[in-house]
Amino acid sequence: MALDNMLKKLSVRSPWLFRINAGSCNGCDVELATTACIPRYDVERLGCKYCGSPRHADIVLITGPLTTRVRDRVLRVWHEIPEPKVTVAVGICPISGGVFREGYSIEGPLDRYLPVDVNVPGCPPRPQAILEGVVLARSIWLKKLGLEE
């Protein structure tokens, strides 16, 4: 049991990020790429890695207002991610619809369909805010594992 707890405690130091674009304008996606790539905000120092496959993901970053066309695909990909997972809504769009709110093709907000753990508002959010969101997601992940930080 002690070993199990130790593994769980260590596990949050290796959050692999997966990005889902739910009909975003690409602003937040560019911001996510910036957060990962440019030296000042290097997200890899938290042990993060962007992974290509939903099966490898721990923290899901969802951008975009969840359009009608993309809804089922987003849900399907989200369900392919193994537990325990933490969902982060990046940008104002998945939170409230942003400028696309009440548009004819908008199915959002995202938490109508998925349990969202962290909201990172902004249009687009600053890199620091995204980093803070990832750090928050880490502590929520720890809670989901039944441990306190």
Binding site: M6, L7, K8, L10, S11, V12, R13, S14, P15, W16, P39, D42, E44, R45, L46, G47, Y50, C51, G52, S53, R55, H56, D58, E80, P82, E83, P84, L145
Partner: protein, 323 residues
């Protein structure tokens, strides 16, 4: 009986098993760190591969409904076992001579492609179309980089064979004798005849390790990690362990073939020296190249491997032949 026990111990503790894994993970961590520093980032802590392992062990394992279950589950075990056995054949100069009564270059040559084959098996068993694309790419790349490797091994074996027999024809495939011969008549890496072969080996390394610019079978931005796509949790962890062991094997083999010199009689210093040489090899051929390049297309990579490193290795082979 005691021989068998001895061999098993070598596979589990030193130089295979625990030692190889520790070195492999250390190298992987350092590789990520150095790459980050080269791009002026901070980078992950050195323990990151161990943390990744801990994480993967706590994750849920999902198996696709349409996958071929036995092959899907066995593939990572396959790759891991192949590399764990292969690591025991790697000599650590001045410390351990390798499993000499059975270990020679040809055994290593046959064991080396096992992780790539495991990847191919896993990819095709996962029933994912991306896995199938990854399978075909891995296969092509393997065919391309195995040719120069065979030529490099032949060149080394022939040069040492000639050296031992004093000019007669003949090849020496025992790694123990290759290392011993170089220790008293000079490292092959410093021999002008073998420099093209050394260059070819340095080019072979990124291909066999599947890192940029040759990470084509697992290209995460095009075919979302290809064969590894459906793997997650402990199964993926096993693939990572196999990859770390393979790092140790190919770097250790490079040191044994080209730079097996020792600096003193005391074994801890020799051990450290061996790790440092492996590290140098890794930084030059994997980390620097990886952090500065993009990704080849599969046809470009294939053409590159069947021309440049093959020509270099052939060059050495012919030079050894005529001299």
């Amino acid at each position: 009986m005691s021989d068998t026990l001895f061999a098993i111990l070598h596979m589990c503790i030193f130089p295979g098993g625990v030692f190889a894994l520790a070195v492999g993970f250390f190298f992987k961590g350092l590789d990520r760190r150095v790459e980050a520093r080269l791009q002026r980032r901070v980078g992950p802590p050195l323990t990151q591969p161990w943390l990744d392992m801990a994480k993967l062990l706590t994750k849920e394992t999902l198996i696709p409904r349409t996958a071929c279950r036995p092959a899907f589950l066995l593939a990572p075990v396959f790759g891991f076992t192949g590399m764990a056995v292969c690591a025991a054949f790697i000599p650590v100069p001045g410390v351990f001579g390798g499993l000499f009564n059975m270990g020679d270059l040809l055994v290593i040559f046959y064991l080396l492609p096992i992780p790539a084959m495991a990847l191919m098996l896993g990819g095709s068993a996962s029933s994912s179309p991306f896995g199938a694309v990854g399978f075909s790419r891995e296969m092509l790349l393997m065919l391309a980089y195995e040719t120069p490797l065979l030529m490099i091994l032949l060149a080394v074996a022939m040069l040492v064979g000639k050296g031992i027999s004093g000019g007669d024809w003949g090849a020496e495939f025992s790694l123990l004798k290759i290392v011993a011969w170089q220790q008293h008549s000079g490292s092959l890496g410093l021999n002008p005849v073998m420099i093209p072969a050394l260059l070819a080996y340095l080019i072979f390394l990124p291909g066999t390790m599947g890192v940029a610019p040759f990470d084509i079978p697992e290209a995460e931005t095009e075919i979302i990690e290809g064969p590894l796509l459906e793997y997650g949790g402990p199964l993926l962890a096993l693939f990572q362990v196999a990859s770390a062991l393979k790092t140790f094997v190919v770097l250790g083999l490079g040191v044994a073939l080209f730079f097996p010199g020792t600096i003193c009689e005391w074994w801890p210093v020799n051990l450290l020296w061996f790790v440092l040489k492996c590290l140098g090899l890794m930084l030059v051929s994997l980390t620097l190249v990886k952090s500065a390049t993009g990704r080849f297309r599969i046809d470009q990579a294939f053409r590159f491997y069947v021309t440049v490193p093959t020509a270099l290795a052939l060059c050495s082979l012919i030079l050894v032949w005529v001299m």
